[in-house]
Symmetry: none
Subunit: 295 residues, 2 copies
DNA sequence: ATTTGCTATAACCTAAGGTTATGGCTGACG
DNA sequence: CGTCAGCCATAACCTTAGGTTATAGCAAAT
C-alpha cells in the first residue's frame, strides 16, 4: 500500500466521500477517485462498496482504518519527542539466537564460559532471521547466531560451523529404523511443513523441487521443536535442523541423515560499524570452539 | 513533512548513511540524497551535519527520530494488515502460542483434532505476550494462547485452565529430591533468571519481594526451555511453568512444586470485533477439554 | 600516489498523481 | 414528470516528485 494510498483512504473514510476528500486534500475529485481505484487494485480487495453511486466502507476498510488512524495520530505528534539511546552496559553480552541453539550448544557454551567469567551477565533472546537486522540496528543485541542468514546491509558475518537438515520420523513409519534416508522415501508419508522458515526452508524446498518430490503438508509450524513434538505424536515426519532434532529426541521417534546431505552454515552476525566488546568476542570464540570440536 | 520524507529520514538514520539507506530502500543513492535535501529545505533546519563527507545526525534529528520510528512501524503494520486481509482463509487456523505449549498440549491437540478434521490447515506461531496484540490486529492469527495476558484493548479473553510455576533443579543441588519446595530453599543456590517474561516473571518477582528473598541471577534468558536446559547443565535452578518443565525433563534434573503454589491462568485471546471461524472455535473447544482433563 | 567509500550535483527519464471535460446515476424538489 | 444538485467514473492530457546514470570532490586507508 503506497503512502499516498494511505493518505487518500484516510481522507475518504473520515470525510465520507471522494468529493469531500478531494476538497480536504486540495486536489481534484477524479484524482482521489483514481488513487482509490489503484489502491484497491493493488490490495486485491475493495475498500468501499458503490451503493447507488455512493461509497460505503467495507468490513476490510473498517479493519484497516484503525491501523491507519494511528499513523495519522502519530504523524501529528512527530515533533514532540526526544530520543534516548539505550546504553550498552559493560559486562553484558546480548545475544540473538535461532531457537534451535537453545537446546544444547548455547547452554553448554554458557556453562563453560561462566567458569572463567563468573561476573559477566548474559542475555539470550530467541529470534528469526527477519528480526535480526532490526535488533542489531536498535542495539538490542550485540551479535546473532543464525542459520544461513541473507546478506544484510551494514552487517558483518562469520561462519561458525556447518550443519545439516535431518529427518525425524515416528518409528512405526519406518520399522527398519534407517539412519540414512533419501528424500524420495518420504513421498508416501505425511510431512509436517515448516513455513516462513527462511533459508533452511528454501534449502529443503529447492531440493524437493529439483528432485520433483511432492509432499502434502496440512500441518505447518514456524518453530522446529514443535515439528519434532508433532512427529513424536505420529503426525508425520519432519525435516528439521540437526541441533533441534538431537535436542528433542524422545521415545518412539528417530533421526535419519538425508542423502545427499542438505547442508547449511551457522553464522554469527554483528554490525560492521560497531566492534564487539571483549567479553562478546571471547564468548563468540568459545562458540566457535565448541561447535567445531563436539564432545 | 511528506510520508516519503519520513521513510527516507528513517532509513538514513537507522542505516547510518545515504548509500546504505538507498540500498535498503532499493533506490539509487542520489535519489535519497535529493529527498533528504528536500525534506531539510521544507523543515527549515538540517537533519544531518556533513562532517568530512559523512552524515552525522543533528540534535533535531535525534529529537524527531523516536516519533518518526513509531510512524514508520505503524506504516509497516498497516501494510502487513493489508497483506493479511488479502489472504482468503478457508479451513485455516492460525494460532499464536506461548512456546511452553509447544512441547505437549498443542501437539496432542493437533493430533486429536486432525482425526476428525483432516482437511483443516493449522499454522502455529510462537510469540510472547507483547507480540500478541499486534498479531491479532494485523490478522496474522485468529487467536492466541498465552499465560496471564494483560487486558488488551478490543481483545476478548477466556480462561482455558489454571497452571503453576515449578522449580527445576539439578539433582545434585538437592540430593533428597523433594517434590515440593518453598522459595526460601532456593536462596542458597544460583538461579537462572527469566527476564522480560511478563506476567509469570511478575508473579515470581512479587512473591520473592513479599517473602524478602534475594536471588542472584547472572544468567538470564527470555525462553523457558533454554532455562530448563541450562539447569540440566548444572547452571542453577530455574523457576518455570509446569508445561515447559514437564516437556523438557531429562536425566539429572527434577521438578518440585512450589509451596505455597504460584498459580496463573492459560487464556485464549481473540479480537472482539471479529468472530472466530467454526474450525477455530472447534479447535479451541478441544484445547479446553484437553487442558482440563489430562490423560 | 592510489584506492575505496561516501555525498552532491548535472542531465535526463518515468510514472504517479494531477488537471479539465464530460457522462451516468440517484434523490430532492417544484 | 422534468429539472436540478450532488456524487462517482472515465477520457484525454499535463506536471512534477522521484527515479536513473554519470561524474566530481573530499577524506581516510593502504
Amino acid at each position: 500500500m503506497r503512502l499516498r494510498h494511505i493518505e487518500v483512504f484516510h481522507a475518504i473514510y473520515v470525510t465520507g466521500s471522494i468529493t469531500n476528500a478531494a476538497n480536504f486534500l486540495h486536489v481534484s475529485q477524479p484524482s482521489v477517485s483514481k488513487v482509490l481505484a489503484h489502491a484497491e487494485m493493488q490490495l486485491g480487495f475493495a475498500l468501499f462498496q458503490r451503493i447507488k453511486g455512493r461509497l460505503v466502507p467495507t468490513a476490510e476498510a473498517q479493519m484497516l482504518f484503525s491501523e491507519i488512524d494511528k499513523v495519522y495520530k502519530q504523524i501529528r505528534s512527530v515533533r514532540n519527542s526526544a530520543i534516548n539511546l539505550k546504553k550498552v552496559k559493560t559486562g553484558n553480552i546480548n545475544i540473538g539466537l535461532t531457537p534451535a541453539l537453545g537446546f544444547d550448544l548455547i547452554p553448554t557454551a554458557v556453562a563453560q564460559y561462566k567458569i572463567d567469567n563468573p561476573q559477566v551477565n548474559i542475555n539470550l533472546q530467541t529470534m528469526h532471521n527477519d528480526e535480526v537486522h532490526q535488533a542489531l540496528l536498535e542495539h538490542k543485541i550485540d551479535f546473532a547466531l543464525m542459520f544461513s542468514p541473507p546478506p544484510l546491509s551494514g552487517v558483518e558475518m562469520q561462519t561458525i560451523c556447518e550443519s545439516q537438515l535431518v529427518m525425524m520420523y515416528p518409528n512405526e513409519f519406518y520399522p527398519q529404523q534407517p539412519s540414512t534416508i533419501s528424500l524420495e522415501d518420504i513421498a508416501g508419508h505425511q510431512v509436517i511443513g515448516i513455513w516462513d522458515s527462511g533459508p533452511l526452508g528454501d534449502l529443503l524446498w529447492n531440493r524437493l523441487s529439483e528432485d520433483d518430490i511432492e509432499v502434502n503438508a496440512d500441518i505447518k509450524v514456524q518453530t522446529y521443536f514443535i515439528a519434532a513434538r508433532l512427529a513424536a505424536q505420529g503426525m508425520g515426519v519432519c525435516i528439521i535442523d540437526e541441533f533441534t532434532a538431537r535436542g528433542n529426541l524422545s521415545h518412539g521417534i528417530s533421526i535419519a541423515e538425508i542423502a545427499p546431505a542438505l547442508k547449511f552454515n551457522l553464522k554469527a552476525l554483528h554490525l560492521d560499524n560497531k566492534s564487539l566488546s571483549h567479553v562478546a568476542s571471547d564468548f563468540l570464540n568459545l562458540i566457535n570452539k565448541l561447535a567445531n570440536n563436539p564432545m
